[in-house]
Symmetry: C3
Subunit: 127 residues, 3 copies
């Protein structure tokens, strides 16, 4: 169900980009009850002039290695679950990819359960 | 009103990509009352490592020809209308582009009517 | 907080693309109370066949210079504020970049305050 869009600067390896996606997927499975294999991710690299951000916001200092993560998912996670998800994603990105915790920007977009079709034109979550 | 984002692997022709967009547009006009010419679509091709998905989910088996369709539209369609929309999109993609029904992933994001401006900075749906 | 996605045809300069982002940012700070430095923008250029739109809709006539602006932001702005935002963005794009007011398409997606993490895996708006 979650559709994940990851946007980052051009230049990281295919392995790095794939690993980023896997970290977000594993975190969702482990801490917000996303089903196994419910993995739909679009990763896009950009030229430096096409990611536009401030030097810092709310005490976070951003670098050219900033990672934008936007997750569209079904409604229903509590604020507490969302907090645990953010923390887990950032901890794993830091531990496994050696990225700076400042550089991870995450946004969730919530939708209804009937807003998904995973193949064959069926709304699998309401059938 | 609907803003449609279609993401797929690099390699299909311009005609194929355009046809994909037209199929989604025609389906929305025909089955969920989207007005004629309300067509705003962004299609993006990706390298194979940048679309990250499982081999299968809920019985659907995905290939490198997977098509991600994300439609942002105004709220108000019934579950029944959404089901008809999904079916129509997949049926047409299969019939006209010979794609596998397993490979069509669809997600809807719903917003308020005042969340659109179609030109001139006017909120045309609430004026 | 706002995550801004701007999509346009390939060919405009880096300066033009950056200026587009800055115009949207400045407008949000000035008219809908977005905090200073809350700027997270992804700009993507596309080949002409990958932006798919009608010649006109609701009296707006679109050209190859069409600009798609999708803003994900926290809920809570009034219809009046949204109208002012649209107008300001289009007026500034016209004045500063000499773009046609017909060619500016804007969509807002609203989310809950807890749906953001700006770094360090913290949900800064609910802590």
């Amino acid at each position: 169900m979650p559709l994940v869009r990851i946007d980052l600067m051009r230049g990281e390896s295919a392995q790095y980009r794939k690993a980023l996606g896997e970290i977000v997927y594993d975190a969702m499975v482990d801490v917000i009850n996303v089903p196994k294999d419910d993995k739909f991710q679009v990763i896009t690299q950009h030229d430096s002039e096409d990611l536009n951000f401030a030097d810092s916001y709310l005490g976070n200092h951003y670098s050219k290695d900033i990672i934008f993560i936007q997750i569209t998912l079904s409604s229903g996670r509590s604020i507490e679950q969302k907090k645990v998800l953010y923390k887990r994603i950032v901890d794993d990105i830091q531990a496994k990819l050696n990225a700076r915790p400042d550089d991870v920007f995450i946004n969730l977009v919530e939708v209804a359960k009937e807003n998904w079709s995973f193949g064959h034109g069926i709304a699998q979550y309401v059938t």
